[in-house]
Symmetry: C2
Subunit: 460 residues, 2 copies
C-alpha cells in the first residue's frame, strides 16, 4: 500500500494533470470535485495528504482547510493549498487556516514532490510518536515538573551576516510569540548540551552562509547533535531557487521560504513549526513517563516485581557468580492492616521502602515483589558482605518505630530476611536463587522472625 | 557541549591536521598516540566517534577496533579506520573487525565530515531508542510471537537496469546471509503495506536509475513511506563521485559504496546494516510491549486503574454529556480468597473479566480499578442503555457458576453494580461521575447485592 493523496479541484482537467504527476511518483490518488465532497472523503477514508484548490464554487479551499483542521479526525492530515494567483492576503489566510504550504499554478513538479515527501515524512514520524506516546499522555500531564506548555518558544536565526540577522530579528520580534535570538553557526553546533533546556526549538537558517550551501550542510549537522536533533528548521533560499529548495526539504528542513520573505509569512510558518515541535516534545516526555511507570511499583516508587526479576537476570548475566540475593518480608504485616486499616499499612510499606533504600548503594537492586515482600540483589558480593548488608537492613527497620501520624501511635515493625549467594560453578538462574532465598526466609520466620538466615545450599 | 571525537595516530602531525579539520566543523577533539592509549581513553571518557589509524607501532588499528567492539562499554562507538594505502585484505579485515568505514589518506574533508555527521546521527537515533527501549527489553523478549531474531534479513536491490541488477544479485546471493531480491523502483514504493513483514530491511540503491539522481530522491521517498521508513539504505555511486556521496549520507543513506564495488565488501557492509536494523527493530518492539504493560492490569489483561481513569477523562472530553459509568464489585469476594486461597480468587477475577468483556463493544471502556472492582464506561449512552447493559453484565456473571477446576466445586459469584450518567449541563468530571456511581454501588450492596442501582443525582 502506497501513500494516498486526495486531490480536490472543481476542474476535471486539473485533477487529471495532478493525478498523472502523482501516480508517476507512486502515490495513489483520490479525487473530489468540490469542498463538500472533499470533507466527506477526508472523513470517510482519511488520505495521507490533501492537495486543495483554493477557488471552488461551493466552498473556498480556505473554508475546507479550516473545517479539516477543526475536526479531530482530519486535523492531522497535511494540506497543501493550490491556487492560480496567490495574493498576499489569501496566502496568509491559508496558512492561518492551518495549511502546511501554499503553491501557485502551474505547480513545479520537483518542488511539489519534495514538499509531499517532506510532509509525509513528518506525518509518519509524528504518527509513530503519537501511536506510542498517546496512551501514556495522561501520565505525562500528571507528572510533576512537566511544563513545556508554558515555556515560550526559542527561535534561533542563522543568517549570512550580522546585518541580515538583525533585519530578520527586527522583522520577527513582535510577531512570533517566542524568544528570538541571533546565533552564529558555530554557536548553534557547540553551545548546547544534551537535554539542554535552552536549545532552540526552531532554527531559521539561510542556505548560504560564509560559503555556498553551508546552511544546507548545517541542517544535517544539527540533526547529528543531541541537543538540536529534534529542533525544527526553516530554510531561507535565494528567490526562485526551487532546485535547492527541494534538496533542503529532502535533507530534513521542516519548511522553506524564499528571500526576500514576508516577515508575517515567516512568523506564521515558525509558529506552526513551534506547535509541531511542542506536540512532539510532549509525546516524547509522556513516552518516558509511561515507560517508567511500567517498571515502577506505584505505591513505594521502587522497581516492581516484573522489573526486579528482569534486572536480577541481567545482573546475573553480567556479574556471573558474585551476586547475592535477599528476600525481605515484613513480619505480621496483616496485623497492621487489620488493626489500623489499609492506609496505615500502605504508609508503613512506604516508610520501610525508604529505610531500605537509604542503606543501599547505587548499583544495588531493590524491588517490591509482593504485598509486603522486597527483593535486594547485590553485585560483587560475598558471604560476609551479604550477611552484613542484611543485618543492616534488618536493623534499619527494627531499631526505630515508625511515626505514622494522624493519631496512630508509633508502630514497631520487624523484617525477616533470607539470603542466597550465587554458587561458583552452578548454572544459577534468577529463579533458583530466589527459591533458595525464599527457603532461607522461611527458616528465619520459623525461628522467630526479626532475623537473617543464609541459605546453606551451594555457597559462594 | 559539542560532539567529541577521539583521533588516534602515532604521528603528531597527522593528529594535528585532523584536529584542525574537525575543530573547524565544531567538534571537540581528544587525542591518543597509540593503541593502548586509545583503549584507555575510550573507556575512561567514551567519545562520540573514533578516527583510528591502522598502522601503529604498539598495536594495529584493527586490533584496537576489535577490542573496542568486544567491550560492551565501547562497542557502540562508531569507528572510522584511516590508512595510507588500503589493500583489499586489510580493508575487509577492518570492516569485519566492526569498523563503520575505511578512509584512505589524504582524507577528503567533505566525505569525512559527511560520514561523521551520518554516523553521529545514526548513533543518536540508536541511543535514544536504546535509552527508551532498554529497560523494557525483558518484556519484549518475554512477549510471545517476537521472533525477529530468527527471520532471515531481506535485502532489496534497486539497480539502473535488469542486467546490472542480476549481476548484483549474483555477487551477493551466497555472501550476505539473507534473502536477496531485485526490486523495480516503483515496487519499492508501492508494494509494501504498513507494518509489512515482507518489507526489505536493507535497500541497495544506485544513485542514478532511469534518471540522474533518481536513486537519491528514492532515498527520501522511502523514508516518507510507513513500510520502509526504518529500512537501512546503502547507496551505490559512480566511482569517485565523493560530492554526491556526501549528499547521499546527508540525505540519510546509512552507508555508501563506489561502483564497481567489491561484492565481498558490499556483503560485509550489508550485514552490518542488517545488524543495526535488527537491534533497532527489537528495541522498538520492546518499547511497545513496555508501554502496553504500563496501561495493563497484569492479572486480568484489562486496562489498569491508571489508564481506566485517564481514558474515562478522555471519553468525557470527547463525548461530552452522553457518557454512562458503572462500578462493578464482586460480592463477598473475600470469602472466595479465605475459603479457597488466593490462586482460586485470581482465577475468579480472570473469569469475571472475561465474561464482562464478552458483553461489551469495542468502544466501551473496561478496566480493573481495584482488587475486585471494575469500571465500565459507555459512550453515547442514555439511561435505558446503561440499565440494560448493567443488567446484562450482572446476569452474565450471576447466571452460571464458574468452573475453576483442580477439585474446586463450581463457584457461584455475583456482582453489585452502581451506575451514574453524565448530566446534560453539569461540569461533570471523571471523579464526580465515579463518586456518584460509587454511592449507587453502595446502595446496591445495602439492598442485598447481586443487583443494579442507578444514581438518582443529575440525570441525563
Amino acid at each position: 500500500m502506497t501513500g494516498r493523496i486526495l486531490v480536490v479541484d472543481d476542474v476535471a482537467t486539473n485533477r487529471i494533470v495532478m493525478k498523472v504527476k502523482l501516480a508517476a511518483a507512486c502515490y495513489a490518488v483520490d479525487q473530489a470535485d468540490c469542498g463538500t465532497a472533499a470533507l466527506i472523503a477526508a472523513r470517510a477514508n482519511p488520505p495521507d495528504l490533501i492537495l486543495l484548490d483554493v477557488v471552488m464554487p461551493d466552498m473556498s479551499g480556505l473554508e475546507v482547510c479550516r473545517k479539516l483542521k477543526a475536526d479531530p479526525e482530519t486535523a492531522d492530515i497535511p494540506v497543501i493549498l493550490i491556487t492560480a494567483l496567490a495574493d498576499r492576503e489569501s496566502k496568509m489566510a491559508g496558512l492561518e487556516a492551518g495549511a502546511d504550504d501554499f503553491l501557485t499554478k502551474p505547480v513545479d513538479e520537483v518542488t511539489l514532490l519534495a514538499r509531499v515527501r517532506s510532509l509525509l515524512r513528518a506525518r509518519e514520524t509524528a504518527r509513530e510518536l503519537k501511536h506510542r506516546g498517546d496512551p501514556a499522555l495522561g501520565f505525562a500531564e500528571a507528572a510533576a515538573g512537566f511544563s513545556a506548555k508554558e515555556k515560550p518558544g526559542r527561535i534561533a536565526l542563522i543568517a549570512p551576516g550580522p546585518k541580515g540577522a538583525v533585519l530578520w530579528k527586527t522583522a520577527l520580534d513582535d510577531r512570533v510569540g517566542g524568544e528570538v535570538s541571533i546565533l552564529p553557526r558555530d554557536a548553534a553546533l557547540s553551545s548546547f548540551g544534551v537535554d539542554d533546556a535552552d536549545a532552540p526549538d526552531v532554527f531559521v537558517i539561510a542556505a548560504d552562509l560564509s560559503h555556498r550551501n553551508e546552511g544546507l550542510r548545517l541542517l544535517s549537522d544539527l540533526r547529528s547533535r543531541p541537543a538540536t536533533r529534534h529542533a525544527a528548521t526553516v530554510m531561507i533560499l535565494p528567490g526562485g531557487d526551487s532546485e535547492r529548495a527541494a534538496i533542503a526539504l529532502d535533507l530534513g528542513a521542516h519548511d522553506i521560504l524564499y528571500d526576500p520573505f514576508d516577515p508575517q509569512e515567516l512568523a506564521i510558518r515558525i509558529r506552526a513549526q513551534l506547535g509541531h515541535k511542542r506536540q512532539a516534545d510532549r509525546l516524547r516526555a509522556s513516552l518516558q513517563v509511561g515507560l517508567e511507570m511500567a517498571v515502577t511499583d506505584s505505591l513505594t516508587g521502587l522497581h516492581n516485581r516484573r522489573y526486579g526479576l528482569f534486572e536480577l537476570d541481567r545482573m546475573l548475566a553480567r556479574q556471573g557468580q558474585r551476586v547475592g540475593v535477599m528476600l525481605l518480608d515484613i513480619d505480621h504485616f496483616k496485623q497492621v492492616n487489620d488493626t489500623h486499616g489499609h492506609s496505615v499499612g500502605d504508609k508503613v510499606l512506604n516508610l520501610v521502602a525508604r529505610r531500605l533504600r537509604a542503606q543501599l548503594r547505587g548499583g544495588d537492586l531493590l524491588a517490591r515483589i509482593g504485598g509486603e515482600e522486597f527483593l535486594v540483589a547485590l553485585p560483587e558480593c560475598d558471604r560476609a558482605t551479604a550477611l552484613d548488608c542484611a543485618e543492616r537492613l534488618r536493623a534499619a527497620v527494627a531499631d526505630q518505630p515508625f511515626a505514622i501520624g494522624g493519631g496512630v501511635p508509633p508502630l514497631s515493625v520487624t523484617l525477616s530476611v533470607g539470603i542466597a549467594l550465587a554458587g561458583t560453578d552452578t548454572d544459577e538462574t534468577a529463579q533458583s536463587l530466589i527459591d533458595r532465598a525464599d527457603a532461607a526466609l522461611y527458616g528465619a520466620k520459623a525461628h522467630g522472625r526479626d532475623q537473617v538466615t543464609l541459605s546453606t545450599l551451594p555457597a559462594a
